[in-house]
Point group: C2
Chain length 112, copies 2
Amino acid sequence: MAINAENVKSQMRKGYLEYCILLIIAKKPMYVSDIITELKEAQLIVVEGTLYPLLSRLKSSGILAYQWQESLQGPPRKYYELTDDGRQFLAELEEGWEEIKNVVELIKNKNI
Amino acid sequence: MAINAENVKSQMRKGYLEYCILLIIAKKPMYVSDIITELKEAQLIVVEGTLYPLLSRLKSSGILAYQWQESLQGPPRKYYELTDDGRQFLAELEEGWEEIKNVVELIKNKNI
DNA sequence: AATAAATACCTTGCGATACAAGGTACTAAA
DNA sequence: TTTAGTACCTTGTATCGCAAGGTATTTATT
């Protein structure tokens, strides 16, 4: 119920997490651990419990597809990649992100 | 369940809505209709059902305070303003926002 | 051969919150 | 007295990140 800065920062993250994940997968096919590592390098901490359901949703929406791939150490991995629809979708998110940056700038600069 | 661009854009908006509202109130005390108008001018559409609970939460968290003020037409209005804690809080959100912009830039620019 | 460790995958339950829809109350004009 | 306009607020629904816990496969150790 109570509001604190961490809480709100976490809310902020919700919004653009999907965008960041698609940006990462767009570069090359990746499986969950890869993605988490990439995000962590960009200072964005995400856990498995967040990522698996999200990837499943993106898959059933036709934005991502995956291929099983053998691993040298341990069980096989699901490598996710963008579909054509997914690239279209990512382009729309790109627009959305630019819009949001614009909105914040507009509000900040008004009456200054 | 299905994911579409509008859905995700709406998710994105959730994250920074609180930030935008505080930016607006920081300039001068405002009541709900004022705030909605300001947001709309910046292309951010928000409805009453979103705003009232949000302002209540911010008030009970000590981030906002309000004063009743007579109106020339109709019932009195609640004018919200930032408390000292609220200004501190807004400063933290400012940091959070800069961090997020950084993360996205980092991810975009990596391996290009 | 049996066990343990490492590495994958996934699900369940919870809390937070935007939004649609609906409700209450006050003021002023018809 | 009724209607219109303008405030305020609440309830119910859907979504989603995250903590916690569970299952399966491979490899190393005993």
